[in-house]
């Protein structure tokens, strides 16, 4: 029953949302796609009446740009490292949590804590934990802290490692980022996987127990298959999140996206970082980069879906 | 307040393009007398709920008019009609207490009807007392049993003192025992308040037991309107005959020849004034009399003794259904042979229907039966 009064009312209720979405969501989609195909587009000259040639120039520029390869490499590397590690750890923690009763709620709360943090703020804490303080001051005798992480390593007879100070290696930098990103990504994954585990019918486990199935076998033959939709979900969202990694690196390394002394090169910059670096002066180029990012995310997501379609048991 | 439905029709447009539209209610005309309890009865999808919603104002008729008394209410919104509606699943607001639920309709009154807080509370308690839930006013719906929730829903519908009370499948969510209790309760409340009440049900027993009048519907078309007993005793067509009564009526393929009704070649009844033709014969379970000389011979399947009555389950090759269920006096049981049973029939419990239109063409009357006994 569609009466005209209800129609009119519905549109009235939707009006604020629609107006805002038109300006800040729909128009940007159209416009960003448009300007990414206008070679060398920038808003300032556009206002002054400049005309831009239609073509793939922006995309070409982005791909040929030296910094872009670095950004792409860093982003990919972080995705490939953090998603499997965090998913595996989260799965292990979730399964363990699901098997215990005492301390369950307390531990759940603790594991969730990293979620309610400011990724810049805690990034700064991680930096403090990894950094050597007083290291670079020459000539003047000063007490030096190697950073708590190196202190702990020393207990096991390892280190010290120059994680992120001036002159630190790329591998050490990536290691710090991976640790931080995994730490940050765990809560969400644990929550989703634990939710999945709790909805698994207990009868499957009882049946397995009656059959005398071993715990390891239960994990791989029952838990993982039954949980596969949730696992697929956290992997997909993990990749999407990984491709958008940016603020956690700012938290760790600051706005120059690299250890002190790396200057304007931003050796640890990411795709999103690249987009924001061009946003103020080269909107056309930023748009092209955003479309490339969107394309990559789309391909990876579809790839994930394809794999999970073959592997996921619903 | 009498309620008049005049050529009421509701057509739902088809959901898919080019699909068929659905005629939910077709040309329904009826005058509901003031202060009566009316049951709208029919299988699901027959248009009974749509009729109720149109009386209520939640759905607009495609054509036709609705009057409350002399007022044409066809174009009025529900709140301006003065109706109370009780939903099948009660639709109590789960976050409000019983009291808040009952008060809710009163708080919506505007202008001249606006009431003071005390007056509202008094009204709410009055309504609650009527349905005997005044002890439960501070509970939440989730803390009540199904029957109690039902009462709250009725109290909420009554609190505005509606001109017409509408109940949508009021008993379907209750268990068997509560159902019996609640239907007496509805009858009592209706009689106490004297509000014209319309309720919808698919359960013929429920409708028969409490209604002053019943309306039997099938695919949007009214089949018969009348007092429950009249409709039962004199169904206008095969559908109505089949729909009313438990156990249901037994239907046979029969033939009329020379004013005699034949089932399986045997003349079972005299039928004056009926021309020769193939017919359906409807025989109520209570129409069977065990009689060694009886003309209707059936194959005996089972005898179920249920205290006062005995139900005989048998079969006959001209029966439309695989089994025939008859209810007879326990006294005559010794007449039953091992393999077959012979019946005589009470003429006024036998109906003859046209084979094509399924309209009733004959029913015997009680006098004839008395004559036959002589």
């Amino acid at each position: 029953m569609v009466d005209s009064k209800q129609q009119w009312k519905a549109w009235l209720y939707l009006a604020p949302a629609i107006v805002l979405l038109l300006i800040f969501t729909v128009w940007p989609i159209i416009n960003t796609v448009r300007i990414s195909f206008l070679e060398g587009y920038n808003a300032m000259s556009a206002v002054n009446g400049a005309h831009f040639k239609f073509g793939f120039g922006n995309f070409k520029k982005v791909v040929e740009y030296r910094g872009f390869a670095t950004c792409l490499k860093n982003t990919m590397l972080l995705c490939v490292l953090t998603v499997p590690i965090s998913t595996f750890l989260a799965l292990l923690i979730a399964v363990c949590l699901n098997s215990i009763k005492p301390l369950n709620r307390l531990l759940q709360t603790i594991y969730f804590l990293p979620y309610v943090t400011n990724s810049i703020a805690i990034g700064m804490v991680f930096a403090a934990m990894f950094k050597i303080v007083g290291f670079s001051v020459e000539g003047i005798e000063q007490s030096t802290s190697l950073g708590i992480v190196n202190n702990i390593l020393a207990v096991f007879g390892a280190g010290p490692v120059n994680w992120m100070n001036q002159g630190s290696s790329y591998g050490a930098n990536i290691a710090v980022m991976t640790i931080y990103i995994v730490w940050n990504a765990l809560p969400f994954k644990i929550l989703i996987l634990l939710g999945g585990l709790q909805s698994v019918n207990k009868q499957y486990y009882d049946a397995a127990k009656v059959d005398g199935t071993s715990k390891v076998r239960v994990f791989f033959r029952i838990t993982v298959p039954l949980l596969s939709p949730m696992i697929a979900y956290v992997v997909i969202t993990g990749f999407i999140g990984g491709f958008k990694e940016y603020t956690s690196i700012i938290g760790l390394f600051g706005e120059n996206m690299g250890p002190v002394g790396s200057g304007a090169d931003k050796p640890l910059n990411t795709m999103v970082g690249f987009i924001y670096d061009s946003i103020e002066l080269h909107q056309g180029r930023a748009g092209a980069a955003a479309l490339i990012l969107f394309g990559i995310i789309l391909v990876v997501t579809l790839l994930n879906l394809y794999v999970s379609k073959k592997r996921v048991h619903y | 307040m009498k309620v008049v439905l005049e050529n009421l029709t509701k057509i739902f447009p088809s959901r898919t393009k080019g699909g068929k539209e659905v005629i939910a209610v077709n040309d329904f005309t009826f005058e509901i007398p003031d202060g009566k309890l009316i049951g709208l009865l029919g299988p699901s999808g027959c248009g009974k709920s749509t009729t109720l919603y149109m009386i209520c104002g939640l759905q607009k008729p495609s054509s036709g008019k609705i009057f409350f008394g002399e007022d044409d209410v066809t174009e009025l919104t529900p709140e301006n009609r003065g109706v109370g509606l009780v939903f099948q699943n009660y639709a109590l607001y789960p976050h409000m207490t019983v009291k808040q639920n009952i008060l809710f309709p009163l708080q919506n009154l505007k202008g001249a009807d606006k009431m003071s807080k005390d007056a509202m509370l008094e009204r709410a308690y009055e309504a609650a007392k009527l349905v005997q839930i005044d002890e439960l006013m501070d509970r939440k719906p989730s803390e009540l049993s199904g029957g109690q929730q039902q009462r709250v829903a009725i109290a909420r519908a009554l609190v505005k003192m509606p001109r017409v009370l509408l109940l949508d499948e009021p008993l379907s969510n209750l268990d068997a025992r509560l159902r019996l209790q609640t239907r007496e309760e509805i009858k009592r409340i209706q009689q106490e308040t004297g509000i014209t009440t319309v309720f919808v049900t698919h359960d013929q027993e429920e409708a028969m037991s409490i209604s002053d009048m019943i309306v039997v519907m099938k695919s949007g078309v009214v089949q018969q309107i009348g007092k429950p007993q009249d409709v039962y005793d004199s169904p206008l067509n095969l559908f109505v005959a089949k729909f009313l009564g438990t156990p249901p009526i037994n239907v046979f393929n029969g033939k009329v020849e020379n004013e005699k009704l034949l089932i399986g070649g045997n003349a079972v009844l005299d039928v004056k004034g009926v021309s020769d033709q193939e017919v359906f014969v409807g025989i109520r379970p209570e129409a069977f009399i065990i009689d060694k000389q009886g003309p209707l011979e059936c194959k005996l399947l089972n005898v179920e003794v249920m205290g006062r009555d005995v139900s005989i389950v048998s079969s006959h090759e001209d029966s439309v259904n695989p089994i025939i269920r008859s209810i007879v006096d326990a006294d005559n049981l010794k007449e039953v042979a091992q393999e077959s049973v012979h019946f005589a029939l009470k003429p006024h419990k036998v109906f003859i229907f046209n084979k094509d239109t399924e309209e009733r063409i004959y029913v015997g009357n009680e006098k004839e039966k008395v004559e036959a006994d002589k």
Binding site: Y13, T32, I120, G195, A286 | H95
Partner: protein, 298 residues
Amino acid sequence: MANETMMEKDMQKVTAKQRVIRIISLVLVYAFLILMALIVLFPFYWMLNSSLKSLEEYRWSIPSLFPHKLRFVNYVTAFKAESLSVSLGQLFVNTAYVGIVSTILSLVVTVLSAFAFARLEFKGKNILFAGLLATMMIPGELFTITNYTTVYRFGWTNTFIVLIVPFLVSVFYIYLLRQNFLQIPNELYLAAKVDGTSDIKYLWKVMIPLSLPTLISITILKMMGAWNSYIWPRLVANDGAHSLITNGLRNAFTDTAGDIDYPVQMAAVALVSLPLFLVFIFLRKYIMKGVSRSGIKG
């Protein structure tokens, strides 16, 4: 007979062995879980520990696991620390203001749209809704590029409006609330109609109370969003007067010569983290529920 006792003995042996295995595995499970919990907690501990030390103590080559002398003054220093030409305290106020205003406005817009999508019938409803959902797939950066020039053209830079309005409508929140509204039986709406309840009153008296948990989840996610936003304010509101806390935090202690007062920095970080933690402690249930349904951080 002898056979039977043999078997019984075997059985006992097996159960005894199984019991030992079970205890060992339980110990291992707890050990793993507690170790992981300590790793998760460690940064928070280190933040608090460091924030109460003097810079000298912080630089000890063998770190102290608990400050020798608790220097709460670090927190006062942090609060007053200048960043982007204003104090961190001012940035706290800015962030709270933006967070509260944008949350309230966002709730109003979300509730109205979700109601229209869940309860009202209008032409093109399904197409419109599907269209909105489709925009959720597109990465936010794509919007930001054009929005950046749009707000410049509107002259909104360095105002609070620019921090509130562009991200007021979240398709995701509308979706979440619509799902919740749909779970409320339609009969309640019809019952209210029969009683003459207006749409707005029905919304206020029935739908909002019934979907309170979802609304709380949305509130918290939106607040967290404001509290953690960094990129957008850095682009369009970087004059200090309208900057938000995260921008100030990162800028107050920019790493140049390596001679940062780390304890004060950690105190500032603790101050920034505190409000979120408090909210989490009180509304843990709603946050976890909201997040498990939401999927994407912030």
